[in-house]
Symmetry: D2
């Protein structure tokens, strides 16, 4: 896989196509088929009790995989998630940003498949893992 | 399975424990191990292009299964999602509420397993399906 | 969805293309996008302790969904499973055939998605549930 | 995590508890919470066309995760798979053994979660990935 979009190109693309995601997530690093993103946790991501909500963790995994797909595919706003299987393994630490590491395992003609590990704070055990499939529109 | 909480009890419980979910979702009906919920779609659930975001659909599936679990288990705020596998199959229709039908397939000592179908508008083909596992805390 | 292959056509197709599956599974009934199959459990499906092995249950779910796809798509030997998420919920009863009910939830241009419930003996609680995605080859 | 069973102990345990798996799979290496296994592909694993069947790949992923769980948990014949989500990404090469790399991501009181990458031949792109949850019996 070759790198089709670098970090700056990906952040510009996200800010234009997915402004909500871009407002709260930062692309920390990118390689062809791999990306690391950070989610700044704020009140709107919290559940009662202070832990990060499932939909917020799911959303971070989804965008991290999307960025990994784009890094190897180029700008393709119409790639859509068709499947996600996610395991919630530990409670995120209070007051910590979440960091997602996504890697693309297959970039096919119609499907892209990869997985994501999400940590809460540097070097800690993962709070969640997800595998995702994206459908790639024809005639690109 | 016996019904441990009726619709009124579930709505009161949700409003107290998960006020964010309760503010946008309505419990339409409930039986022991089955629940039907509606999500009123507003701007904050939309992605660019006007379709409902993945995290919003995931969140609805998650709460619908939670309500189905509680209906057969009784009030248990500490049940947590450990796994979700979700297939996004069709684009939701613009301007339609989403309706989720959840059914519990197993209520064990430590795990509850079930699945959810989500439709966009009455009687239409499903936009998503999800299967979820909840972990039930010990010593209840 | 229209019925493209009836029970007799499906059994002939399976016997030719998947003789191993056809030797141990029976198509009990079929509608457009739905199929019911039975697996006769023999020694080669058992794990120590007498329960049916995970791969045998997986294999039944996979073939049941394949038959449901073919019922609505017509004979297509090259459709392949791209994803399966399976929950093992209960131990199958000793000495009982397994029965799988598959339903197709989406038949798209490139992907077919559905789910399967597997029971051990008539009317009993499900021993497993699975959701599967099949990839459909182009130019059919 | 500490190593509770080394390679020799795991092979002895598998041969006694799961003789069918032990007959066709080799534990190549093991660390606490990680294991590498090889499946010698023979006729009984093949589908028409010469590719390895889905149930055979599933079975390898399942045993590889089981070995990774035991490596950190110690001998526990009663740990059972409760969920597996598997992506089939590429056709295995004809005439090649499959190699599975399993890693444990969480070893909790009641659940163990991990994932597996499966390759067909040294250093090649993965043919499948799987994530699995095992339920651990109480009072060990």
């Amino acid at each position: 896989m070759d790198l089709k979009m670098d970090r700056a190109a990906l952040e510009t693309f996200l800010a234009r196509e997915f402004p909500q995601a871009a407002a709260e997530m930062t692309v920390l690093s990118v390689r062809a088929g791999a990306a690391e993103l950070r989610l700044e946790v704020s009140d709107r991501h919290l559940r009662p009790g202070g832990t990060v909500s499932g939909p917020s963790i799911f959303g971070l995994a989804d965008v991290a995989m999307y960025v990994a797909v784009l890094s190897a595919l180029g700008p393709e706003a119409l790639a859509v998630t068709t499947n996600c299987s996610i395991d919630f393994m530990r409670k995120p630490k209070a007051g910590q940003a979440l960091v997602a590491e996504a890697r693309l395992l297959k970039l096919g003609r119609v499907l892209a498949v990869g997985d994501v590990l999400i940590r809460s704070g540097e070097g800690s055990d993962p709070v969640a893992r997800a595998s995702l499939t994206y459908s790639i529109p024809p005639k690109r």
